[in-house]
């Protein structure tokens, strides 16, 4: 029988990204006349909407893209923002949720692979701080890696948060509101969260098993230019 957690974590919380600052990950992937623009960054949804257009103009000017990009970029950002805002009013579970976050990115010449556990319940968490520390500890020279890491973490957290919102809605519908939130089991809310009791209960210790060490160790590879070219070609082929 599972431990019933205290009632405080079962009450639904208003949706937000479970980090210290409520920033939205935005991904852009626009193609106009054969010119491809890919980008990913974090946005503060509290900024006024005029910022979107200003940002789009600035980016296009800086990168010397054709002006047709401005509206596309602005539209894309706006639609992602409205998606985020549509989730914002709803409830989500904030139960005991330790989720594994996987990093698998290639930024310019660096290849980053990593996996770690993240507490969804911790609303003070800060992916940016994590990224900064990561780069400092792993002695990464390329300054573009940091933001990419922070973005990847944020994106995954956002996905999980969305899942929890939808599952909260479903479970509420299925229960027909009779029993309320307090009685829905923890496991149902998300399939990927770890069962704390199983991991850190009586039987096992907090120290990770040796066989898991390789999985959870960060790997940073610096690629040479040919390898980069090969990887990019492969990615494009996959994309098509």
């Amino acid at each position: 029988m599972k431990l019933l957690p205290s009632s405080s974590s079962r009450t639904p919380v208003k949706f937000r990204i479970p980090t210290a600052d409520n920033l939205v990950p935005i991904r852009l992937d626009i193609e106009i006349d054969g010119q491809r623009f890919k980008d990913a960054f974090t946005w503060n949804p509290a900024d006024p909407d005029s910022e979107v257009v200003v940002f789009a103009k600035r980016t296009v000017k800086d990168l010397k893209l054709p002006p047709a990009f401005i509206t596309q970029i602005a539209q894309s950002i706006q639609s992602q923002l409205t998606d985020f805002r549509s989730y914002e009013g709803q409830d989500m579970y904030a139960g005991e949720k330790i989720v594994p976050i996987k990093l698998d990115l290639r930024v310019n010449h660096s290849l980053i692979k990593d996996q770690f556990l993240w507490d969804m319940n911790n609303f003070e968490s800060d992916p940016e701080e994590f990224a900064r520390t990561f780069c400092r500890d792993m002695d990464i020279q390329d300054p573009e890696v940091g933001p990419a890491i922070a973005f990847a973490i944020r994106e995954q957290l956002y996905e999980i948060a969305i899942q929890s919102v939808t599952s909260a809605r479903e479970s509420r519908l299925s229960k027909k509101g009779r029993r309320g939130f307090d009685y829905s089991p923890a496991i149902k809310s998300s399939g990927i969260s770890l069962d704390l009791v199983k991991y850190f209960g009586h039987k096992s210790s907090v120290v990770r098993k040796r066989k898991d060490w390789d999985v959870f160790e960060p790997i940073v590879d610096i690629l040479s230019s040919e390898e980069v070219g090969a990887l990019e070609a492969r990615e494009e082929r996959n994309a098509r």
Binding site: A20, F41, N44, G146
Partner: protein, 511 residues
């Protein structure tokens, strides 16, 4: 001559000029000791109007731009940014970027700000000859792009990054707060230069309500525009520069109109005339009057009208004296403006009050204007005296009636008995009225008291209810806790039992 004085204490100074550091291996931020290059402070030879209020730049000495040959690593920053230091946050940063320091967002705090600022500046200084773009900076920094953009804009406008050291560089768009100040300052630098284009564009995004629409490009003119009175055209600065006007008009026909300063501009005689004409024709319809005047908003027209000498009459129409004075002034003023005939004077005299909302006043004004000044004065005086006499009469009658009653009793056959009787009756009625009023007041106050008491009692009741609720809630909490403790104990026991069961199984299997 160039002033080779690294700003004291502000900037990092190093002994030797090292070659631009390898961008890969940026030293950890300890800029006080390991600076890439000495930083030179440069005084801009543009007008000191451009320098913001924080600095004390008086008259900058003229200086030629630095030859970069021998000093490839010298970084130029303008004189108004001398306050910058790696270690501190200066008060103008506090002032212009308050969102980082007021704790509203957890992601915007002084450390983050310092991190952004330092990394952007370092990034720029790695290669000072190249202008760093916002996208470059944004890609290398961890954080949300809105805040990065604000810091970037701030640094760029203060010349700490992307400063080319040339005197001709125009000031860029400042923060929104200073947008109007600096843009009007910049606009006043050169009327037709391209700078005003930038300024017009930059300030196009400001939220000023536009009052003028350009005839050429049908866009609103915000800061400065060019008006041609001959053909009644209005062009924004951009169209003027581009020569986007009609064939018959030449550039010299235009006069520059500063919208920002229009408010304080003097009303010309022509405009005043237009104003009065408009009022005469349209009366209270200030919109039409403003149109007639052309170039002034309704508010301005009204304000100006009030300020005009005869406007005082609207203030206190009961004072005929002031009206007389005002009319004299009016005559003098208008006499100076239109010395041609007295007829327009008279019409002018009529107009202010002719359209007054008070028809009686209008009538009186009309009559007095027709009758002439002295007659009006005499009539006014006579009216005043009779009025005051009547008042006195009434008050005297009041005091009479105080003695009325006892006198009535004593002298019923008095010749004035008739008068006294009516006055006595009047007085009695008055006293009865007063008594009734008092009764009413007492009754009302009693009712109010009763209501208050009721409400007070209700409040007391609710408070007691509240306390009861609190007690119940506490009991409920206690019960909940006990239940939880029980469940915990139960589950632990069950676990133990299960584990011992498993252990026994394992033992059995391994045997």
């Amino acid at each position: 001559m160039a002033a080779q004085a690294p700003a004291a204490g502000d900037t990092p100074s190093s002994s030797t000029a090292t070659p631009p550091p390898n961008p890969q291996s940026l030293p950890p931020p300890n800029p006080a000791t390991t600076a890439p290059s000495p930083v030179k402070v440069e005084t801009p030879s543009t007008d000191s109007k451009v320098t913001p209020a924080a600095t004390a730049a008086a008259t900058p000495p003229p200086k030629p731009p630095e030859p970069p040959a021998t000093e490839a690593d010298t970084i130029h920053i303008p004189r108004y940014s001398r306050w910058f230091s790696w270690d501190n946050i200066h008060e103008c940063e506090l002032r212009l970027l308050p969102e980082f320091f007021d704790g509203k967002f957890p992601s915007r705090n002084p450390q983050v700000y310092k991190y952004y600022r330092d990394s952007i500046i370092k990034l720029y200084r790695q290669n000072p000859s190249r202008k760093i773009t916002f996208t470059d900076a944004r890609r290398t920094l961890v954080g949300d792009v809105g805040s990065i953009r604000k810091v970037f804009d701030f640094l760029e406008t203060w010349g700490l990054i992307n400063y080319s050291g040339l005197a001709s560089s125009k000031p860029l768009k400042w923060d929104d707060k200073e947008g109007n100040k600096s843009s009007s300052g910049a606009a006043s630098q050169g009327g037709g230069s391209s700078g005003s284009n930038n300024v017009a564009e930059a300030s196009g995004s400001s939220k000023e309500t536009a009052k003028r629409v350009c005839n050429g490009c049908k866009s609103v003119c915000t800061i400065a525009c060019f008006a041609c009175d001959k053909y009644n055209l209005t062009l924004c600065a951009r169209c003027y520069v581009r020569g986007n006007y009609q064939v018959g008009v030449s550039s010299s026909d235009f006069r520059r109109v500063e919208i920002n300063e229009e408010m304080k501009a003097e009303w010309t005689e022509k405009e005043t005339l237009h104003l009065l004409e408009g009022i005469m024709h349209y009366g209270d319809d200030w919109r039409k009057v403003a149109q007639h005047v052309g170039g002034r908003s309704e508010k301005e027209c009204v304000a100006q009208f009030i300020k005009l000498p005869f406007g005082e009459e609207f203030v206190d129409p009961a004072e005929m004296e002031s009206k007389r004075n005002a009319m004299e002034n009016n005559n003098a003023v208008l006499g100076a403006e239109t010395p041609s005939s007295s007829l327009p004077n008279k019409r002018m005299c009529l107009t202010p009050l002719a359209d007054a909302s008070n028809p009686i006043m209008a009538q009186a004004a009309f009559l007095s204007a027709l009758a002439g000044v002295e007659v009006t004065e005499a009539a006014a005086q006579a009216a005043l005296t009779t009025l005051s006499e009547m008042d006195y009469g009434v008050s005297r009658a009041g005091s009479f009636s105080n003695h009325a009653k006892p006198q009535e009793a004593r002298l019923p056959s008095n010749g004035d008995g008739g008068l006294n009787a009516t006055e006595g009756a009047l007085m009695e009625a008055n006293s009865q009225l007063e008594k009734e009023e008092q009764d009413l007041e007492k009754a009302i106050s009693e009712i109010a008291e009763v209501q208050m008491k009721r409400i007070h009692d209700k409040i007391v009741e609710f408070e007691e209810l509240d306390i009861l609720m609190e007690k119940e809630r506490q009991q409920l909490d206690q019960l909940k806790n006990m239940l939880f403790a029980d469940q915990l104990v139960l589950s632990i026991y069950k676990n133990k039992a299960r584990k011992s069961g498993e252990c026994m199984e394992e033992n059995a299997r391994s045997d």
